[in-house]
């Protein structure tokens, strides 16, 4: 087990380096000069521009810039913004707690409701409740998140007045509730569909017949034998989703004015603040890699036949 984890951690290093390199290249190779953007629409002053570039090390060749960036990362230094020279780490420290809250709320929502709906539909395959869940998930997948967000904001916020249409305090759990529901809705539909398929497949498995034949109560058959064996694909999906929820929150955070990473990234894009973008994506990649490892370790808990040497 320990050796397995160590090997997986080592395997993460090339993927991590590759991903940060790609995102670094995407930000820096593509046209658009962040230093020139400091002047807005005015033509930049060449002397001043050269000086700023030299101070930030932006005149170095790209591979050197990347190595410098990596060197900084190892010391926990994410660089600083071009406009205002603020440390990126500080900007992220303000934004990430908000996004983590939002993503965790969405995650719990999609997990609990999604698995419940999926089990209900899978156990009663072909019945009314199955059709209902299937139609519901199809609709949720078809309606894009930004439309759902706008509708929710309009109906629940403006017309019914149940919630505040936009979030005023980004750390307030009550105000984050609707954005979290909207954010988690698409994944909820996928979780429900995955659970349903998996449950329906396992219903015919031998261990199910045995469990029923042993005379176990139905509740125990479903909740222990069936669910545990059906959860592996769902856990796989949920594992990759926690990072995707944070990265995909740009739209939701924009609509509801949540001051999280999505908002930070959107502003960074508009101002071409490459260091902020690279920094945030680096953290997303780390979250994604660690979540993947946790998922693989969870397999062994769900299915004792899987062992890690």
């Amino acid at each position: 087990m320990g050796r397995y984890v160590a090997r997986r951690l080592l395997q993460m290093i090339p993927v991590f380096l590759g991903t940060t390199l790609i995102i670094f290249l995407m930000v820096n190779v593509l046209p658009g000069d962040p230093v020139a953007a400091l002047w807005g629409d005015h033509p930049p002053d060449p002397a001043q521009m050269a000086q700023i570039k030299q101070e930030r090390g932006l005149d170095l060749p790209l591979w050197h810039q990347y190595l410098n960036y990596l060197g900084g990362l190892l010391q926990g230094d994410f660089g600083s913004t071009i406009a205002g020279d603020r440390p990126v780490l500080g900007e992220m420290a303000d934004a990430f707690p908000v996004s983590i809250r939002l993503a965790l709320m969405a995650f719990v929502f999609e997990m609990v409701v999604g698995i419940t709906l999926g089990v209900m539909a899978g156990v009663k395959r072909g019945k009314l409740i199955d059709t209902g869940v299937t139609v519901f998930t199809l609709l949720v997948i078809s309606i894009p998140v930004f439309v759902l967000g706008l509708l929710g904001q309009q109906v629940l916020g403006t017309q019914l007045g149940w919630i505040t249409p936009t979030v005023r305090d980004s750390m307030n759990l009550g105000q984050l509730l609707l954005p979290a529901l909207v954010l988690g809705s698409l994944s909820l539909a996928y979780v429900a569909r995955l659970t349903r398929t998996s449950i329906a497949e396992n219903l015919r498995a031998d261990f199910m017949r045995t469990a029923v034949a042993k005379g176990l109560p139905r509740r125990r058959v479903v909740s222990v034998h069936l669910l545990r064996n059906s959860l592996i694909p769902v856990v796989t999906y949920l594992g990759t989703d926690i990072g995707a929820l944070m990265a995909g929150a740009v739209v939701t955070e924009g609509i509801f004015n949540v001051q999280g990473v999505g908002n930070l990234l959107f502003q960074a894009l508009a101002r071409r603040e490459g260091t902020v973008i690279v920094g945030c994506v680096t953290v997303f990649v780390l979250i994604y890699l660690v979540a993947n490892l946790l998922v693989d370790l969870l397999y062994a808990v769900l299915d004792p036949r899987i062992r890690y040497a």
Binding site: R8, I23, P144, T158, G248, I306
Partner: protein, 318 residues
């Protein structure tokens, strides 16, 4: 040890090379085995989900190809004497004022009709690119194995780690005048990994089959083995993933346009129109309702098609 990097899609996708079922009652000649494709087609035709989605998609393709058949109005011509707060004239079928006017006095009906083209082109374009390139890479990695597989699989892992929408935003942000092709390129650049993984897995399953060994023993060339023997038997899960992904690419395009990072204001796109609608959603909800409705209907059609194809190609679900 389990495969360490599986995606949700792979889990639900049928394993390749389902045994061709012997002919059933409705089959062609008794005793004659039907191919997987023929079997799937027979299955599909009986599925109401498929019939509904196929009709819908055919209709959308016609609208995208010949929008002028459906409206005589120009989607970019604004007439400011038409006020956007006026309720849409729902009785005026196919007239420019059927769905009302937007804040620049442009016919929403005409914009909804003409907006179909962008969504369909982006959806189909990205899917074709991703399937061809991603599929080819997956075949190479799966068939040749060894160093090829190691390099391509690590490359896939790396691209898979980049958040899809966010990556597309970063790429598109660099271009000042974006066309449909820029959007297609950006989405395909970040979206190919899923197909590669599915194709790789399917090819690995298929390449040890007896018919492949037999073909090699008969002296078939590598390309013949790959394209005539392995590909037809490995393509089923790829088709399923690609069909479902098509709908998500349409959503991605409209999301990018909604964020102002997709097509410019000169192009007619549902996402862009929904972005315009957000400022007037309280007083003129029809600005949001019609483009959003068409967008959702289009995505629904492709998701339903994907579901139907999956049911037809996955023997486990029968």
């Amino acid at each position: 040890m389990p495969e360490t990097t599986k995606t949700a899609a792979e889990e639900t996708v049928p394993v390749a090379a389902a045994p061709a079922e012997a002919a059933r009652d409705s089959g062609p000649a008794p005793g004659k085995p039907r191919s997987l494709a023929a079997d799937a087609w027979a299955e599909l035709r009986r599925n109401p989900l498929f019939v509904i989605s196929a009709v819908l998609i055919f209709f959308l393709l016609v609208v995208a190809a010949f929008p002028s058949l459906f409206t005589s109005a120009d989607p970019t011509a604004g007439d400011l004497s038409e006020h956007f707060l006026d309720k849409p004239k729902l009785g005026h079928f196919f007239q420019p004022d059927w769905f009302g006017y937007d804040n620049q006095g442009r016919s929403i009906y005409a914009r909804v009709v003409y907006g179909t083209r962008v969504s369909i082109i982006v959806g189909v374009g990205v899917t074709v690119l991703v399937t061809v390139f991603g599929g080819l890479l997956g075949m190479l990695a799966g068939y040749f194995g060894g160093l090829w597989d190691t390099i391509l699989s690590r490359l896939t892992d790396i691209f898979f780690g980049i958040p899809f929408l966010l990556g597309a935003m970063v790429v598109l942000n660099a271009f000042t005048d974006r066309t449909v092709w820029t959007v297609i390129g950006a989405l395909a650049f970040l979206g190919w990994t899923q197909i590669t993984r599915v194709m790789r897995g399917a090819v690995i399953t298929a390449k040890h089959a007896d018919y492949v060994v037999a073909a090699r023993a008969l002296g078939a060339s590598t390309s013949r083995i790959l394209f005539r023997h392995i590909l037809p038997n490995a393509v089923a899960p790829v088709i399923v993933v690609a069909t479902i992904a098509l709908g998500t690419y349409i959503v991605a395009e409209s999301t990018l346009s909604f964020l102002g990072l997709g097509l410019g204001t000169n192009d007619v796109s549902w996402g862009g129109d929904i972005d315009t609608a957000t400022d007037h959603i309280r007083n003129a909800p029809h600005l949001l309702f019609f483009p959003a409705g068409m967008l959702s209907l289009t995505v629904l059609a492709f998701i339903m098609l994907g579901d139907a194809v999956r049911e037809a190609l996955d023997p486990k679900l029968r």
